[in-house]
Symmetry: C2
Subunit: 402 residues, 2 copies
């Protein structure tokens, strides 16, 4: 099998951790797999480099920042190669430009355009373990770029897609994807498998396991992902298009997104297009709106509530205030003390009983539901932020009774 493995920065933070990862790589290699191993920069390297830069210039160009930051992964792969050499295994380390990972020129948040698999295939054909710098690529000007958050996961998935790998294993410091955050809900169960769509919903809800871009890419190219632990040697969670009946659980997870604020626009006149103007102003400013609730009109007026990222709330309020006369609403209120709690599951909409269970759980703890939204595979409620952990535990207990 051809397997792409990816290890994050904390997994290669020092010599001892590099040794541990090398052990995992060596085991897979001894099972006759062909291996491409994608690494992130060691632990704090990126932060240290940014600090060095800021000492000199608090606002350097993104181009030079990328030129600086790409050294982080270069250090990781070279050191890992040396450890595998010590174990007398055939190995070679390659940078983003060496594997021809082409991106657009958006420094700091570049998008992968293509991967020239030639060098990768040549080294694999020679029987080598190929170590690759994650997070980085090269643009059409021949300059180095970085992919932004979750970049190394994306690199791994893109390589798996380009080479038609049998599997892409993302090693993290958790054992897989759980039905809830195991730090908050000790009864949370590890999922043996989850669909791309469910994973996307969970990722966007603040479950930090995989970045959305990598899951989207995996979905587009049908790359079989597996999230595994760098520490425990056991199966993790597979992420794929369709699950086997055995793999399916009632729901895939209960997740909390605490990075939310609720904005309410009171007294919007019931005239066509006015609600549109509210959201248009925000959209043009690059502010994403999530859950939306429009109250029924009373006296020719209605109230519009929506959630957004907490950091966007002050700017949203300001933008709306400026439009107050034009739109004709009465006032804007911001409640920064909310959170979104969601149940995610591919079969959610097929079983109406699911929603009832969720509401029962919340009612049982006396938690007030401020807003509700639903999609094919997700049911979300907006509640007071300081009750969110309690809500997650109660909902989880309802779906997975002890």
């Amino acid at each position: 099998m051809l397997i792409v493995q990816k290890f994050g920065g904390s997994s290669v933070a020092d010599a001892a951790k590099i040794r541990r990862v090398a052990g995992i790589v060596a085991d897979a290699f001894s099972e006759d797999h062909k291996l491409v191993v994608v690494l992130s920069a060691q632990g704090d390297t990126t932060d240290e480099l940014i600090e060095k830069a800021n000492e000199i210039n608090p606002a350097p160009s993104r181009r030079e920042m990328d030129a600086l930051l790409t050294v982080g992964e270069q250090i990781s792969v070279a050191l890992m190669a040396m450890e595998l050499e010590r174990m007398r295994l055939p190995v070679v380390s390659l940078t983003g430009w060496q594997i021809g990972l082409r991106t657009d020129a958006r420094h700091g948040a570049a998008r992968i355009r293509s991967i020239d698999g030639e060098r990768l295939r040549k080294e694999l054909d020679q029987g080598k373990i190929v170590l690759v710098c994650g997070f980085q690529g090269i643009d059409k000007y021949g300059d180095q770029t970085t992919l932004g958050r979750g970049g190394s996961d994306t690199t791994a998935v893109a390589i798996a897609a380009a080479l038609g790998a049998d599997q892409c294993q993302i090693y993290t410091d958790v054992e897989g994807v759980f039905t809830a955050d195991p730090r908050k809900v000790p009864e949370a169960k590890k999922l043996s498998a989850i669909t791309y769509d469910e994973m996307l919903e969970l990722a966007s809800l603040g479950s930090q396991v995989l970045h959305n871009r990598s899951v989207e890419l995996a979905k587009r190219y049908g790359v079989d992902l597996e999230v595994r632990s760098s520490y425990a040697r056991k199966p993790g969670t597979k992420v794929k298009e369709v699950l086997q009946p055995m793999e399916r659980m009632l729901i895939s997870g209960v997740a909390k997104d605490a990075d939310a604020a609720r904005v309410t626009v009171f007294g919007v006149p019931d005239a066509p297009g006015l609600a549109f103007r509210v959201f248009n102003a925000l959209s043009r400013a690059g502010i994403n709106v999530d859950v939306i609730l429009q109250s029924g009109g009373v006296d020719g007026e209605s109230d519009i509530s929506f959630t957004l990222r907490e950091a966007d709330a002050p700017r949203a309020r300001e933008l709306l205030e400026r439009q107050r006369e034009a739109i004709g609403f009465r006032e804007v209120a911001v409640d920064a003390n909310v959170a979104k709690v969601s149940v995610v599951g591919a079969g959610l909409m097929d079983s109406p009983g699911m929603a009832v269970r969720m509401f029962e759980a919340l009612a049982g703890c006396g938690i007030n539901i401020q807003m509700i939204s639903s999609s094919e595979i997700k049911l979300s409620v907006v509640i007071a932020r300081d009750r969110a952990d309690e809500a997650v535990r109660a909902i989880h207990a309802k779906f997975f009774p002890a």
Copy 2:
């Protein structure tokens, strides 16, 4: 003018030093010069990277060591670019592979094959200050290489040659080339100019200012070099093919090479080819021999003395002992306590008085001359090492009376 400037690792060791160098660069840029600036890795970066590597593997492959070490200069040029950006100057940083600096595949000690000037010219044409990573290149396999000792000087000279630059300025922590080591001989004078050949002799004699490879390259391509101080803003020493009469001093310098040992082979039979066998054995073992003295034959025997690097002496003794019966000599003695002191000057052989002056100086302090050798532009004596500094001062005083 198109000028290539090179700054070493100690000149860019921290933010304050980067700022100072940026000032030098900015001044040259404000005089309407086109600039390529070659930088080494910051201060201890290379040592730190080697330490990280050795913690993992005391004998990593040179290929991976090069992959690791090239990050050092990448950090330097990116940080310097950020400082110049802060000063609102147009700048771009480039790596060895980005400027197409092709080398052979001898990792750790690669030789430059060619430089593709395209990217360099494009950036210069756009009016940018171009910062380039010294010490590094790319081989025909697309792998990064390092040039070994003096590599950044060589990079600068090679770029100057490839672009037909008007001048190549090597900035160091000394003000130029002196007639003797100024730390040992306070009366030493800075030379305003010196020929390539003289510089080569001085460099090989342990004057640390410029590495031989860079001077050889400058000579081959007729690149005008100038050694300047990163600290004092004043003219340094020019290195070129022919000096103007005004630039010429009686001699260019008095230098000491303390890394020497003297080996004497006693009682070599006066038969043809036996002396050859002595040196052949050493040569095949990769041991370079410097000054050679063969005493006249007495009783059908002669003694052969030669100097070599001190570290090679034990191995030379062992090799010779093994050949003792075959060659038929009596014994080998090693004196590790010697040094070579030399006077360098292009006109040396034209004025026999020079040698006399040197011997007078030594006789004046009662220093015994063990061996003598001479070339077109150099006159060397081997003496006791603990008198070498005294000899340098005495000789210098003879040529440059106060």
